[in-house]
Amino acid sequence: MQSFIDGLIASGVFGGLPAEAIYPAMMFLFASIVVFGFVLPLVTITIWLERRVWSRIQSRVGPNRVGPQGVLQGLADGVKNILKEDVVPDAADRPLFVFAPYLLVWGFLATFVVIPFSSALVIADLNVGILYIVAIVALSAVGVLMAGWASNNKWSLLGGIRSAAQVVSYEIPAGLALLPVVLLTGTLSTQGIIQAQGWAPWDWFLFHSPFTFIAAFAFYISALAETNRTPFDIPEAESELVAGFATEYSGFRFALFFLAEWGSLYVTGAIMAVLFLGGWQIPTGWTNNTVVLNIAQLTVFFLKAYFWVFLAMWIRATLPRIRVDQMMSLCWKYLVPLGFVNLVGTAVWMVIWPEGNTFVPYLMVVGTLALLVIFFRRVLYHLRRAKPELYFNPAI
């Protein structure tokens, strides 16, 4: 990024402007491009996808009016929300109430800084990349607490408190699940982690050893909890807490909460792809064109990320919500010990096979494929057993 701007300065595009002024301006410009050109469409698409996937599972149709297949529904919702009155309750703590949604949105936007979309497309390849994400996610808990408290509504407060407890607790298993990968690569940089993997499934860390396999799912579960997704949607459980910390929000600020929620869902998928699925890795040697290569990498990365996003949607449509105490016991009694087991197991694995076992990854890939086949056969069986009206009908 900086070298790019340096290049522009050197080429004299800005005339004689001082570099101190150019850097912030360019950063601002770049941030705006990222937000409006990339994140907003990303989030609206994710929301649309979620609603479509969800309604299919629920034998409904879902949004299909705005644009082809209803793709533009998110845009319509966004416009609607912006036009709506932005109510700030009288009894609310105004500054905090107004500020909280921005903090949340900032929290997830900031994570985009270290997500590498392709071998070239990364805003900053920090040497503490993964740690940076953990830190930013941790900070977002403050935003939720602020929103909950500032609303001056007990449901909001309960939601905020639940959310904070959840995020703080699940940071630990999430962090522990990251560690096997960090241990294997010896780096915290996201690009470094991707470069340590290959394009083929057996080169992914997901299939590196049984421990990383478990770690991947432990991380995924923790990430679901940190982003308040079902079955961990306790902070905004509509049947209990109305809408949790977002109860008093309306209009644009409410839309910001949505933005943050679905944005972090994508971030979760992206981190999973980076850590365990080889990120943007594709077979090399078939093209020398950097642009084509990067587009291919971008596509692969998006597919991998959206696999996890899709899984989260599926889970949301399938599972009920767990209770607060069960959420805590899952974290402390199962995921945290499991995290330690994974960490130690990976370390032992590395001592025994410093270059990685050659056989186990293939075995695990085959096993996973077999499991998938069995699973989809069951899905097909159920589809066949159900009545014709339940069949997937792409026409509507």
């Binding site: 079955p231 209990e240 009920p320 919500r321 069960q326 009545k387």
Partner: protein
């Protein structure tokens, strides 16, 4: 603050509130199944008390009966429990018939039972669907509602209404079954019965769902009887009592059906899961009853001849029907005029509310939701 006879400590306003939090759950809250209010005192997530505050949906239905006459009251009974209005219809019809000594034609009785059991299926589908939704599962609700819509279609074919049926009349039912109705209903049942198993596959034995419901708010048999729980809530405690079987009315004695009870299969006997499971099992029993009725239904009139201005002799009458939410008592006092002197409706949801406070102590807020859902409280039935 005094509320429904309970004294509340108003939260201190001297700048330092107590750790105990008073929460108003309702009257407008997503999971109170109508306009109910619970005053919850919670210490963090743990509830100290949850006092139900009722009356937000009181419409003086009993009083209205004194002004609209026996026939005219029938549409109002739909509003007693609008989730399963058929049994309310039946209760009012039966109590008037008993007071006035009217005999219902046999085909009419069959029509009534078919309608009531279809209504029960609809009601239980809504109950279990919303229960899962309250627990947080969204998909089972839509699946249940999908089937409920089909039942509503059938009932619409029968009486032209989908929710407040006004189907029954004193002395029988308003209309005979429409042509081809048997086939329609059979087709629905053929399609629906396997879906009950699918429903179990889908959610009932889901690990999270079971964890949320098992051992939560278990009611013992004695407690259930002391607190006057009825219907599925009573049977959920393992007490096999069903008005249709134990104090038979209409043509129920001729029908063959089981009375499912709670078994405590995943936790304590009488917990939320048992109450839920009883409803699932009753869906099957209702299907069975409807099938039998469709086979056995005789020809003949469906409505006895009843005077337009019904004037039952001086006296009173009481009947009990097994409504979807349990034993529903109908009592009417006649002074010989064309208007009832006094009507009294005793509903299952009302008594179920009384045990909420006892059960909720020490539960978590999320459990209260499961508890209310498992008691299947319907606000209009509580308040009438």
């Amino acid at each position: 603050m005094s509320l429904a006879g309970y004294e509340f400590e108003v939260q201190r306003d001297d700048g330092l509130a107590t750790e105990e939090m008073t929460l108003n759950m309702g009257p407008q809250h997503p999971s109170t199944h109508g306009v109910l209010r619970f005053v919850v005192k919670a210490d963090g997530e743990i509830m100290r008390t949850a006092l139900p505050d009722i009356g937000y949906l009181h419409r003086s239905i009993e009083k209205i009966s004194e002004k609209v006459g026996y026939h005219g009251f029938m549409p109002y009974t739909d509003r007693v429990d609008y989730v399963s209005a058929m049994q309310c219809n039946q209760g009012w019809a039966m109590v008037c018939e008993r007071a006035a000594g009217i005999e219902v034609p046999r085909r009419g009785e069959f029509c009534r039972v078919i309608a009531c059991e279809l209504g029960r299926i609809a009601s239980h589908l809504l109950s279990v669907g919303t229960m899962v939704m309250d627990i947080g599962g969204m998909t089972p609700f839509t699946h249940a509602i999908r089937e409920r819509e089909k039942v509503n279609n059938l009932l619409e074919d029968l009486c032209g209404a989908r929710l407040t049926f006004n189907y029954m009349r004193i002395g029988g039912v308003a209309w005979d079954l429409p042509p081809g109705y048997t086939e329609q209903v059979t087709a629905f049942l053929d399609q629906f019965e396997p879906l009950i198993d699918e429903y179990n596959d889908l959610i009932s034995y889901n690990k999270i769902y079971v964890e949320r419901l098992a051992n939560v708010a278990a009611v013992s048999k004695e407690e259930a009887i002391n607190y006057n729980l009825v219907g599925p809530n009573l049977r959920g405690c393992g007490f096999q009592y069903d008005v249709r079987r134990d104090e038979p009315y209409s043509i129920y004695p001729e029908l063959d059906f089981e009375v499912p009870v709670g078994t405590g299969e995943v936790g304590t006997l009488g917990d939320c899961f048992d109450r839920y499971m009883v409803r699932i099992k009753e869906l099957k029993e209702s299907c069975k009853i409807v099938r039998q009725c469709l086979e056995m239904i005789p020809d003949g009139p469906v409505l006895a001849r009843v005077a337009k201005k019904l004037k039952p002799p001086v006296g009173d009458a009481h009947v009990r029907v097994e409504a979807s939410r349990g034993d529903m008592g109908w009592y009417v006092v006649s002074d010989g005029s064309e208007f009832p002197y006094r009507t009294k409706i005793r509903t299952g949801s009302f008594s179920a509310m009384s045990i909420v406070d006892k059960l909720s102590r020490g539960l978590m807020i999320a459990d209260l939701i499961a508890l209310i859902a498992s008691l299947d409280v319907v606000a209009p039935e509580v308040d009438r």
